[in-house]
Amino acid sequence: MGLLSLTILIPAFGALVIAFLDRGDAVPKIVALVTSLAAFAASLAILGPFQMGEPGLQLTESLTWIPAIGASISLAVDGTSLALILLTTFLTPLIIIASWDSITDRVRGYLAAFLLLESAVLGVFAATDLLLFYVFFEVSLVPMYLIIGIWGGAARKAAAIKFFLYTLLGGLLMLVAILYLFSQTGSFAYADMLALELSVTEQRWLFAAFLIAFAVKVPLFPVHTWLPDAHTEAPTGGSVFLAGVLLKLGTFGLLRYALPFFPDATVEFAPWLLAISVVGILYGAVVALMQSDIKKLIAYSSVSHMGFVVLGTFALTTTATSASVVQMVNHGLSTGALFLLIGFLYERRHTRQIAAFGGLAKRIPMMAGLWLVVSLSSLALPGLNGFVGEFPILLGTFQTNRTAAVFATFGAILAALYLLWAYQRMFHGPLEGADNENTSDLKPREIGVLVPLVVVIVAIGLYPKPLYDLVEPSVDRVLAEVGVEGLIPGDGLAEPEGGDQ
C-alpha cells in the first residue's frame, strides 16, 4: 500500500473504529484526533518521495476495481493536489480539537462524518481515474449534508438540502460529460482522456458541463446562492471545512480537468470566466459589506476571494495561475481561521450579529489580536499569506486582461473595507452592555487551535517560495496542455520520473 492510499484510508479507518466504539464520548474524540494526526503525518511523509521539480503526476498507485466498465483505483499527485492534500490533513485535526467541547450531541456521528469527509476529499485530490474521482466527489456530499443538517443552526435542514442538490446537479452533468469522454476512449483513466482529440464543438459542451459542476463548488457568481446558507447554518467545524477545503474541489477540478481536457474551449471561454469572476469578486465584496451577521459576512467574502482564485486560473499565465493555487491554500487557512474565531465567539455569546458586539478588544485582547491578524491576512496585507497569493494573481491578470485586473483590484480594496469595518465595530469603540463586559477570552485549547494556523499564515507570507516551488511545475504542465504558456508541450512531460538532473 502506497503513501497516498494510506493517507486516504487512515481517516476512513478511524471513522469505522468510531462507529464500532461504545457509547462514551471521550474515547471517540481521542481516536478521531489520533487518526486525523496520523493522516497528517502520512501526508507529510508524501513530501519525502515527492520530486519537487517534476511537473507530471507522480507516486502513481493502481489497483483493478471494475474492469468490466474500465474503471480502476488509480491515485497520483502533482504539486497542486499535494498542496491541497496537506491543507486538508492540516485543517482536520484542528477542526476536531476546535469541536472538542462545542459538539455535545451525537459526538460519535459527528467525528465519523468528519473523518469520512476527509477521506472522500483526499480521494478527490488524489484520484486519476475519472470514475473514482466522481465517486469521491459525490460521496463527500453525504457526510457534509449530515454535518450541516444535524449539527447546524436553526435553518439547517433547508441549507443542507440546498447544498446537496446544487452540488449533485452540477456533479451529474459532469458525469454525463465524463461518460461522453468514456464513450470516446473506453477507459476512465486520466491520461487516456487527456490524450483525446476533441472537436471544438464537443469541447464547448463538455467544458460547459465540467464548468457547471465546478462553478457550483467554487462557487462562482450566479450559482453561489447555496454558500451563504450552508456556511451560516453549518457548525463551526463544518464551516471551516467547507471554506477551507470543499470550495477548493471546484477550483482544483477546473485546473486539473476542465483546462487540460478542453484547451480550445478554455481559451475561448477564458474572457467570459474572467468577467464572471470579476462580477463575483465585486458582488461578493459589496454584499459582504452590507451584512449584519458576521458569519454571513465571511461567507460572502469567500465568494469574493474564490473569485480571485478563478480569475487567476483563467488568466492563463504562470504567475497568475500558480498564484491562484497558492491562494487556494491561503484562503483555506485565513477563512478557516476566521470561521474558527467566529465559532469561538458564538459559543460565548450565542449571537453573530455585529451590532451586538462592541469594544471587545479591551475585554478579550487575545481574540482581538488573532482576529486582526487573520483579517489582515484575508485582506492581503503584505507580509501575510493573502498578499503573496492575491498580488501575483492581479499582476498576472494585468498582463492578459487589463480591464479585469483593474476591476478586480477594487475587490481587494473592498475586502479591506468590510473586514476592517467589521473588526472595528466589534472590537473597538466603547465597551457597552453586560454581555460584552462578561465575554471571556480564548481558552488554551482554542489558542492551541489558532496558533498553528497563524504560524503558517505568517510563514507563507514571509517566505512563500517553497509553496510556489511545489505548485508551479504542475501549473506549468496544465498551461502547456492548454497551449498558452509554461512548458512547450511534450517538454518535460514525456520524461520519466526523476526530476532535476
Partner: protein, 549 residues
C-alpha cells in the same frame, strides 16, 4: 404390459423435455402445489408432507444416480423441508409455509446458478444462449438475470412480510402459494421466447398478483387496489394480446426470433407489424408503469398490503423489462426506427413525471410508488440504447433497483406495524435517533435509489447513462440526470426527516421482527457490496448480452 415397456412407449410419444432449461422454475411450482394441498389437508398435514417427502427423496435419489448431483440434492432438500417444517411448527401453519416457500426459492436460486455453471456458461465466462422446449423457452442472459432478481426478491420478501401479514391477520393459506406462482410467472416471462409462452407467463403472474393485491379483504383500499389492478390490467393484457395477434398476422410466426427474422423481409406488411408493435407497447408499458400508462400505480401500490407492494415494485419491473428487452431487441429489432424514438420519449416523460409528482406526496408508499415510476424510466434508457451495453445495463439496473426498493419497503413495513395505518413523513421524524439501525438501512436504500456513489444504485445509473451516451442519446441522459436531482430531493427529504429532526415521543418505536431485520439487512448488505465491488456480478451482466435471436 410391463412398466418399463410402458415407460419406453410414453417417452416416444412425449417429445423429449430439456429439464435443465426449466429446472429453476420446478421447485417453486411444486412447492406451490404442495402448500395448496397442505392448506386443503388442514389438521392432517402428514397426509401431504409424507407423500411430498417420499416424492422428493425418490426423485432426488434417482437424479443422483443419473449423475445430476445438484438437482438431486435440491429435490431431496425440498422433500425433507416440508415434514421438517410441519414437525417444527405444529401450531403455526403460516410459519411452515414461509419456511417451505423460502426453501423452494433457495432451491430455485441454486438451480439457477447450477444451470449457469453447467449449461449456460460451462467455462464461467461467456454465456451460450440456448433454446429449450422446442424454442418456447430461451435460456440466456435475460433469463439468468431475471431469475436471479425475482427469486432473490421473493426470498427476501417472505421473511420481511411474515410478521406484517400476521399483524393484519391476512396470513391466509393462499399467500405463499400465490407468491410462488407469481415468481414462477415472472421467471417464465424472463425466459419466454414465443408470444404464447410470454402471454401465459404474463397472465400467471398478473392473476396471482391481482389476488395478492386485494389480500386484505376487510380493508377498502386493498379492495380498491385489487379491483383497479385487475380491471386495468386485464384491459392492458387484452390490448397486448391484440398486438400479438397482429404481429402474428404480419409475420406468420409466434416465436420471437422468427418474428425478428420475418420483420426484416420486404413481404412483411409494415403497417400491420407497426400496429402490433404499438399495441404490445401499450400493454407492456402498463405492466412496468411507463408514462402515460402509469395511472394505476400509486393507488395500487398504496392500497396493497405493503409486503406485496414491495415485492410487486421490485420484481414485476424486473420481469416486465425482461419481456420488453426480448420483445424489442429480438422480435422488433428491425422496427427500431419506430420504437426507439417513441420509447425514448416515454422514458423521458416517465423520469420527469415520477420525480416531480413524488415531491408533493406525503404518504411513504405513494412516494415509493412514484419513485418506482421514475426508475422504470431509467431502465428504459438501457432499452432504447438498443445495444449490448444497454441490455446488460438494464439487467443490472433492475437487480439493483429491486434490492433497494425491497429494503425501503421493508423499513416502511416496520413503521406501518407500529401504526397500523398509512405511513407518512411525520412517522419518520427522528427515526435516526430512536432506531438508528432501521433508519440507517432505509437511508442506505434511498441513497441507492437516488444513485449516490458507494451504493449499488449508483453503478446501475452509471451503466444505463453510459449505455445511453454511447448510443448517442445524450439528451435523454441529461433528462435522466435532471430527474435524478429532483428525485434526490424527495429521497433526501425522507432521510432528512429521519436524521435531522427530533423524534416524537407520542409515536412508538417501529416493530422489527427477526424475519424483517434479516431481510432488510441482507438487502442493505447487497446494496453496499454491489456498490463497492460490482465486478463479479457485473461481469455476468456483461456476458449476459448474448441472446437467442
Amino acid at each position: 404390459m410391463s412398466v418399463s415397456s410402458f415407460l419406453a412407449q410414453t417417452t416416444t410419444l412425449v417429445p423429449p423435455v430439456e429439464w435443465a432449461g426449466i429446472a429453476p422454475e420446478l421447485p417453486p411450482t411444486a412447492m406451490a402445489l404442495a402448500l395448496l394441498l397442505l392448506a386443503v389437508a388442514r389438521k392432517r398435514p402428514e397426509l401431504v408432507s409424507l407423500p411430498a417427502a417420499l416424492v422428493g427423496l425418490g426423485l432426488g435419489g434417482w437424479l443422483i444416480t443419473q449423475d445430476q448431483i445438484v438437482p438431486g440434492a435440491v429435490a431431496i432438500g425440498l422433500g425433507i423441508v416440508i415434514p421438517a417444517a410441519v414437525f417444527a411448527f405444529p401450531r403455526r401453519q403460516s410459519m411452515v409455509r414461509v419456511f417451505a416457500a423460502a426453501a423452494s426459492l433457495v432451491g430455485a436460486l441454486v438451480l439457477t446458478v447450477w444451470q449457469y455453471a453447467t449449461v449456460l456458461a460451462p467455462d464461467l465466462a461467456v454465456i451460450v444462449p440456448q433454446e429449450a422446449l422446442a424454442g418456447a423457452v430461451a435460456n440466456d442472459g435475460i433469463a439468468l438475470f431475471t431469475r436471479l432478481t425475482v427469486y432473490l426478491t421473493a426470498l427476501l420478501a417472505l421473511p420481511i412480510g411474515y410478521g406484517y401479514l400476521q399483524d393484519r391477520r391476512i396470513n391466509k393459506a393462499e399467500v405463499e402459494p400465490l407468491l410462488l406462482l407469481t415468481v414462477v410467472g415472472m421467471a417464465a416471462l424472463g425466459t419466454a421466447n414465443d408470444l404464447i409462452t410470454l402471454f401465459v407467463a404474463l397472465e400467471v403472474l398478473s392473476l396471482a398478483l391481482y389476488v395478492l393485491a386485494s389480500l386484505a379483504r376487510r380493508d377498502r383500499r386493498s379492495q380498491e387496489a385489487g379491483l383497479k389492478y385487475f380491471v386495468l390490467g386485464t384491459v392492458a393484457s387484452t390490448i397486448m394480446l391484440y398486438g400479438m395477434a397482429l404481429t402474428f398476422v404480419a409475420t406468420g410466426s409466434v416465436d420471437l426470433p422468427g418474428i425478428g427474422a420475418a420483420m426484416g423481409l420486404v413481404t412483411t406488411p409494415e403497417l400491420v407489424s407497426v400496429l402490433g408493435l404499438g399495441l404490445v407497447t401499450v400493454g407492456i408499458g402498463f405492466k412496468v408503469s411507463l408514462v402515460p400508462f402509469q395511472f394505476w400505480t400509486p393507488d395500487v401500490y398504496q392500497g396493497s398490503p405493503t409486503n406485496i407492494t414491495g415485492f410487486m415494485a421490485a420484481a414485476v419491473k424486473a420481469a416486465g423489462f425482461a419481456a420488453i428487452l426480448r420483445l424489442y431487441l429480438v422480435a422488433f429489432d428491425d422496427l427500431a426506427a419506430f420504437w426507439v424514438p417513441i420509447l425514448a420519449v416515454f422514458a423521458a416523460l416517465t423520469m420527469i413525471y415520477g420525480a416531480v409528482v413524488a415531491i408533493v406526496q406525503h404518504d411513504l408508499k405513494r412516494i415509493l410508488a412514484y419513485s418506482s415510476i421514475t426508475h422504470a424510466g431509467y431502465a428504459t434508457i438501457g432499452v432504447v440504447a438498443n445495444s449490448d451495453a444497454g441490455l446488460s445495463s438494464t439487467l443490472w439496473y433492475l437487480l439493483t433497483y429491486a434490492i433497494g426498493t425491497l429494503g425501503a419497503f421493508g423499513c416502511v413495513i416496520a413503521l406501518e406495524r407500529r401504526r397500523r395505518g398509512e405511513v407518512t413523513l411525520l412517522d419518520l421524524r427522528g427515526l435516526g435517533r430512536s432506531s438508528p439501525a432501521l433508519a440507517g438501512i432505509l437511508a442506505l436504500s434511498l441513497l441507492s435509489l437516488a444513485g449516490i456513489p458507494g451504493t449499488a444504485g449508483f453503478v446501475g445509473k452509471l451503466l444505463v447513462f453510459q449505455a445511453g451516451v454511447a448510443s448517442g442519446l445524450v439528451w435523454l441522459v441529461v433528462i435522466g440526470v435532471l430527474s435524478s436531482v429532483v428525485a434526490a430531493f424527495f429521497y433526501l427529504r425522507i432521510a432528512g426527516t429521519m436524521f435531522l429532526e427530533e423524534p416524537d415521543p407520542a409515536r412508538g418505536l417501529p416493530v422489527v421482527s427477526t424475519g424483517l431485520s434479516f431481510g432488510v439487512s441482507v438487502a442493505a448488505t447487497l446494496v453496499l457490496y454491489l456498490g463497492v465491488f460490482p465486478q463479479p456480478i457485473l461481469q455476468i451482466a456483461e456476458s449476459a448480452a448474448a441472446l437467442v435471436r
